[in-house]
Symmetry: C3
Amino acid sequence: MRKDEVRKMFRTIMENVQQKTPLIHCVTNYVTVNDVANMLLACGGSPIMADDISEAAEMTGICNGLVINIGTLNSRTIDSMISAGKRANALGHPVVLDPVGAGASLLRTSTVFRLLDEVKFSVIRGNISEIKTIYKGSGSTKGVDADISDAVTKENLPEAIRFANELSKRTGAVIVITGAIDIIVNGTKSFVIENGHPMMSKITGTGCMLTGVIAAYCAANPEMIWEAAACAVCAMGLCGEIAYEKVNQTGGGTSSYRMYLIDAMSKLDADSLERGKKIESR
Amino acid sequence: MRKDEVRKMFRTIMENVQQKTPLIHCVTNYVTVNDVANMLLACGGSPIMADDISEAAEMTGICNGLVINIGTLNSRTIDSMISAGKRANALGHPVVLDPVGAGASLLRTSTVFRLLDEVKFSVIRGNISEIKTIYKGSGSTKGVDADISDAVTKENLPEAIRFANELSKRTGAVIVITGAIDIIVNGTKSFVIENGHPMMSKITGTGCMLTGVIAAYCAANPEMIWEAAACAVCAMGLCGEIAYEKVNQTGGGTSSYRMYLIDAMSKLDADSLERGKKIESR
Amino acid sequence: MRKDEVRKMFRTIMENVQQKTPLIHCVTNYVTVNDVANMLLACGGSPIMADDISEAAEMTGICNGLVINIGTLNSRTIDSMISAGKRANALGHPVVLDPVGAGASLLRTSTVFRLLDEVKFSVIRGNISEIKTIYKGSGSTKGVDADISDAVTKENLPEAIRFANELSKRTGAVIVITGAIDIIVNGTKSFVIENGHPMMSKITGTGCMLTGVIAAYCAANPEMIWEAAACAVCAMGLCGEIAYEKVNQTGGGTSSYRMYLIDAMSKLDADSLERGKKIESR
């Protein structure tokens, strides 16, 4: 994909989000749920959280996209996730999976495979350890953070792209691996993104928030899932950089950083994204 | 009600909140619960969150007021809401209902009617779509936000006041409809408030937070529910304006706005409210 | 303990936290969980929240310490707390109990005693009303805040230290009572800390956040539980003071204060703690 094509495409994607205000149903964890809701609003979407089995599918029905995030998985909500996922599939709505901590417990790993069995995902976004767990069918995720030995580097990037593409073909989902280097693949084509800042890992929920933004971007651009996911990753990473500049100026700490991150998303426009994006297609 | 009467009354209401530090039991959603707790503290109240059936009524018993918010309704907590509501009724404590998303799912709509059957509410606060759903017995709420076609305008204001008063008579509750124009009615008398700022809808939880503030104001002023609810709506709207000024000065985004909103409530005094209020009684 | 010994010890404790990045499993309430996660990251730890019975013990197994916080206790999570607690005990990991609202309801009081029966705690941290409830076997906690009649003052300090030490001997846990004056006892020895600021009680979650920090400090210093707990209390109190200075300069309110509190923790170093600590050993 040529650079001017990416530029034009990103502009279209952002305009669609602004114009459509996609409604995103989130069945998500209670740790970062407020940040996800505020980030969704900041990026131009609108959040609905509902996880009871008796309304999950119905709520999906009035929305434009669905997030399934297993961050504080419990037996009560697994069925709700599946019920909402099936409805979204039936309606042709984008569904994004955030397999938080897959590999860290049997419950999480097995639930991810059950979800993959019963729901067709448009996008799966995780850190490298979580995605490797799904790829291999087992894993050794260190809690909810990526294992350091797993980090994507310039050296192992081709290998990471290869297995991500394989997983993409197997699941039919766009695979998004986030870290210092982000990879977004659709089975044959790949974006590599180097936006972002290490301080993003010093607050909880940047992954969950990004998953929400991806869902909003995809819901407003259902014909361009791979491109919309990449645009969301770029936008989030750039906001991480803008927030770092700001926290540096003001001498704030991690909580200020969290605020500046959401602030940046609420003020981001296509021109800033065009200037700030560090994306390459392969 | 004459202007100087409103002024004097608002001052009394705020003083009572400050002096009594009303303890508010909230059975509420997990999306905005932290903001509700911090807003309750900011306005001079004190929050307790407890939603297990085995302690709900007991916790209500040590408090001065109760909030029932169906934002992330689940089957486990509906009974807790009713149990807490009945106890609050028995004790004569103000009970405020926030019917988040009523009309958006059968579960929410039917639960609201079950709650109205079993609990006597002092105040019901929602957006126009939610309140219309309760008024009509069915609805088409677009998620948790008001349907645009439902917005209260100068033109349909008399009609909105009419149906709100009818609902107030039917339920015995003060009805609060919030939006660009806010309406607070008690069945015969109405306040119309034009404080607030559109940016309030760019963060999650302003409705939930307001419901908490209404509960604190009513719990400290149980003999003046209609007036206390109006004072809370005015206070919240004014804080929304103050926060907007602040965010404009600092160049912040929506997350800064959220912070400034709670900040403003924590610093609000009767003099500022007197100068800033945009209220009319009809 | 001599002053230079405390100084050296605190430095070692903080260095251990920074070097080990202790992973803390939290079975905690949904009101303050996001603040707890961000405060844990700010202090140099890493949070995992997981409360389903089918993964609670397993998650404990990959962590270095455990927090059990009964803030929004429900029947579903009590068994998870016990399961996680037993696993942590078997592994020799520090376990910290935050008995939020013990004494305010039968459910909370009885659950605390059940937890004490089945799990061995390294530290119990609460306000004076909660700790008194545990000491006496019953109580009259006013919601989740300490009863004013219970406050630790210069006058009743020796009496408070006495009963805390008795409770420490009975439970085998370091007892931390926080308030205007903080007490940390291990059955025979006591620290008294006067860091902190009244504004800490104007936001929700300072107690929960401190409990998280204590767990991180203890998990990184399992041979020095009493000292690590004291160091965490000092650090948190000092951050409360730094945040107050900051909010005073900027003219912010309580939500700014919350942000500055976490900011301060994310920037705290051993030198600042050495200069700012107000600790005495007895």
